[in-house]
Symmetry: C2
Subunit: 393 residues, 2 copies
C-alpha cells in the first residue's frame, strides 16, 4: 500500500424528502445569497426546484437562478454563471441536478474568485487557491461529483473536454434523495450505473501490491451495482435499488475505494474524446471503451483480471488456465452492459471508425504515454478504439 491522504469532508444527507433540508444546510455552511444552478426542465416540471426554493425562502436566503446546463457541460454556461454571481454578489452555489450541473458549478466556483480565465485550471494542473462553497441536490447517480474534488468541462471551441481537481471543490453538503432518480429513463439509469462501475474499475486495476482493503471495498461497490442496476431498470420506482445505487455512486468516487494505490484512468480519457466529439452520454461511451481497454491490457496482469472474474462476476477459477478466467470476466462485464441497454461498440454508440485518427489526435498524447496501470501510446489508444469498433457479445 502506498502512502496517501484521504479527506472527504462533505456532509451527506441521504434519504426521502431530504431536498427540504436545502435551506438549513446552506445556512449552516454560511450561504446568504445563492445561485441555484440546474439543467433542463425536469427539475422545474417535477416541482423539485420549487421545493428547494421554498426551503431557502423559509430560512430567509436569497437566490438567483441559472438553468440550461447541458450534459458534457460547456465553458460558455460557466462564463455566464461567473458574470451572474459577480453581479448578484452570490456567496454560495446550490446545484440541483447531476454531474454536469455540479461540474459546471465547480467551474463557476473557481471563476468567481479568480481574476483570469477559469479555463486556466482545466487540464493544466494549475492549483486552485480559492473557490466559492457549493452544495448539491443530486438527481442522478452517476458522476460522483457530489462527493469528489473533480470537475470535467467541455470547451465549445474545438469541443475539448478537460478536468480539474481540488479539495476546495468538494461540496460542503450533498443531499441524496433516491426518490428523485425514480423518474430517470432506463437509458440514463444505465449510463449512470456504467459511470459508477467505471470509477471503481479505474481504481481496481492497479500496479500497487498488497491492497486487500481497497480491493475488497472496490468489489463491494461493483457487486452492489451488479445486483441493483437490473432491478432499477426493471422497476424504475424500486426505491431500495435506487438507494443502493445512489450511495454506491458516491462511495465509488469520493476515493475511499482508491486510496493507497496507483490508479489508471485511461478509459475515462479515451472516452472523453468520444463524448467530446459526438456529444454522447459519458456512461454510454464508457460502456464501449472500458471492456475494450480491458481486452487490450489484461495480459499485463492476468491474475488481477482473474480476481475480478471470480470475486465480482462469480466465474469459477480455471486454475490450469487463468487467462481463460480473466477473459470470461471481461466478457461478463460487456454482457452485463449490453443487458442493461448500453451500446457496446462504435455502431451502437453512433461513432465512426474513420474518426479514429481525429479521436487519437484530440487525445493529444503525441509521442508520449499516459495511464497508471498500463501506460498507453497514441498507437495503443487507436488500437483500443479499433477493438471498440468490432466489439460484440
Amino acid at each position: 500500500m502506498d502512502n496517501f491522504q484521504f479527506y472527504s469532508p462533505t456532509e451527506f444527507v441521504f434519504g426521502k424528502e431530504t431536498e427540504n433540508e436545502s435551506g438549513r444546510l446552506v445556512k449552516k455552511y454560511g450561504g446568504s445569497k445563492v445561485l441555484i444552478h440546474y439543467g433542463g426542465g425536469s427539475a422545474v416540471k417535477s416541482g423539485l426546484l420549487d421545493r428547494v426554493k421554498a426551503s431557502l425562502e423559509k430560512e430567509g436566503i436569497g437566490y438567483v437562478l441559472l438553468g440550461g446546463v447541458k450534459p458534457n457541460p460547456r465553458d460558455t454556461k460557466i462564463y455566464e454563471g461567473i458574470e451572474l454571481c459577480r453581479k448578484e454578489n452570490v456567496d454560495f452555489i446550490l446545484c440541483v441536478g447531476g454531474g454536469s450541473v455540479i461540474d459546471s458549478a465547480k467551474g463557476i466556483a473557481i471563476g468567481v474568485l479568480y481574476d483570469g480565465d477559469f479555463w486556466d485550471f482545466y487540464g493544466t494542473g494549475k492549483k486552485v487557491e480559492r473557490a466559492l462553497p457549493i452544495g448539491t441536490v443530486l438527481t442522478i447517480a452517476a458522476a460522483g461529483s457530489e462527493g469528489s474534488p473533480g470537475s470535467v468541462v467541455t470547451k465549445e471551441e474545438g469541443m475539448l473536454k478537460r478536468d480539474v481537481g481540488s479539495d476546495l471543490l468538494r461540496p460542503k453538503f450533498s443531499i441524496l434523495n433516491p426518490e428523485l432518480t425514480e423518474t430517470l429513463p432506463a437509458y440514463q439509469t444505465a449510463c449512470g450505473a456504467t459511470d459508477i462501475m467505471a470509477h471503481v474499475f479505474e481504481r481496481y486495476f492497479t500496479n500497487t501490491e498488497e491492497v486487500e482493503i481497497s480491493d475488497r471495498l472496490c468489489e463491494a461497490v461493483l457487486m452492489t451495482m451488479i445486483k441493483e442496476t437490473p432491478r432499477a431498470i426493471a422497476d424504475p420506482h424500486n426505491y431500495q435499488a435506487r438507494a443502493n445505487i445512489m450511495w454506491a455512486g458516491t462511495v465509488a468516487h469520493n476515493d475511499i475505494v482508491g486510496v493507497g494505490r496507483s490508479q489508471d484512468w485511461n478509459s475515462h480519457g479515451i472516452e472523453h474524446e468520444l463524448s467530446g466529439l459526438y456529444d454522447c452520454a459519458h456512461g454510454a461511451g464508457l460502456a464501449v471503451i472500458m471492456p475494450s481497454w480491458m481486452e487490450f491490457v489484461y495480459k499485463h496482469n492476468i491474475m488481477r483480471f482473474a480476481q475480478m472474474a471470480v470475486r465480482i462476476w462469480g466465474c469459477p477459477m480455471n486454475f490450469e488456465n487463468p487467462e481463460e478466467t480473466a477473459l470470461k470476466g471481461i466478457a461478463c462485464f460487456r454482457r452485463f452492459l449490453h443487458d442493461i441497454g448500453m451500446p457496446i461498440n462504435f455502431e451502437e454508440l453512433g461513432a465512426k471508425e474513420e474518426d479514429i485518427p481525429v479521436l487519437v489526435e484530440k487525445f493529444g498524447l503525441g509521442d508520449g504515454k499516459t495511464g497508471g496501470f498500463v501506460p498507453l501510446s497514441s498507437d495503443d489508444v487507436a488500437e483500443i478504439y479499433r477493438i471498440a469498433v468490432k466489439a460484440s457479445i
Copy 2:
C-alpha cells in the same frame, strides 16, 4: 435503507514516517499551544514522542505534556488534563497513542470548554455544544476513535464505563503510520483486530432490509481482517499486513459501513462490564462475548447469519439446512479468535461465573431492554454471560 446523515471530515494522512507531518497539520487546523496526550512509556522509548515534538517545534508550536493514560481510560486523568489545558491556555490536543488516549483526549476536549463536570455528557445523551479541536498520531489499530465521533471513559468510582458521541469530537486530522504498530505484541495486535471486527459486526447484524451496499462494505472489511490479522501476528514487521489492518480499522468505525441501517451494539455494552470489572483488554472481552451473543440471537435471522458464513468465512451454503450454515459461521469466528490468541471463555479471560449477577446489575437494564438487532433483557444478558462461561472450540 433508512435515511441517514454521513459526515466524516477528518483528514487522514496515512503511511510511512507521517508522524513528521504533526506540526504542519496542527498549524493547518489552527493550533498554537498543544497538549500532547499519551499513554505509557512506549511512545517515549521508541522515540516517537521526540519526533512529534520536533515536528511541532519546527512550526514554532508550543506544547505541554500529559502522559499516563491507562487502557480503559479513567475520568481522573481527564480532570487532570482539563486543569492543565486551562492553566496553560491550550487550544489543541494532539493524541499520541491508541483508542484510550484518544478517548481520554475527547473527554478533556469537552471539559475544557464546559463549566460543569465533563462526565455530565457520558451515558446521558446530553448534547456536546463545544469542544477543543484534536488531532491524533495513532499507534494501534483497534478502537477506530481516530475517525469516529465517540469516546468511552471509565469512572473510577464504581468502575462505570460510559460513552458519548458528537461530530465535534471527530479529530481534525489523524496520522496513521502502520510502522508504529510493528512493535505491538501479538496479544495487543489480536485484541485490536477483534475490536475492529466487532465494530463491523455490530453494524452487520441489522433489521433494516435492502442494504446491499453497506452489507458488502462490511464484508469487505471483515474479509480483509481475516486475511491480514494472522499475517501480522506471524510476522509483526509485515508492513503491508499492518497497513491493511490499520486502514480497515478506521473504515470499520467512521460509520461508512454502517449508514442507513439499524445497528446492534449489545456485544460492546455487555463487554464493557467485563473490562470495567476486570480491567481486561476490550478486544479480549469482545472475543469472549461476541460469538456468545451470536449464538444467543442467531435464530432471529438465520439467513443473515448464513450470509455471514458464506460470504465472509467461505462456508458452503447448506440449502437444506441454513441453520447449520449459520452455526458454522459463528464457529468459524470463534475458531479464528482462538487461532489469533484471543480468550474465548470466562476462564481464559480471567472472569468468574459467580460475578455474573454483578455484571448484569452494572449493565443496568433493570426491567428494560436494549439493542438494535435483538432487544435484550437482563435475563438475556445473564444467559449470554453463561454461554461465554462455557464457550469452547
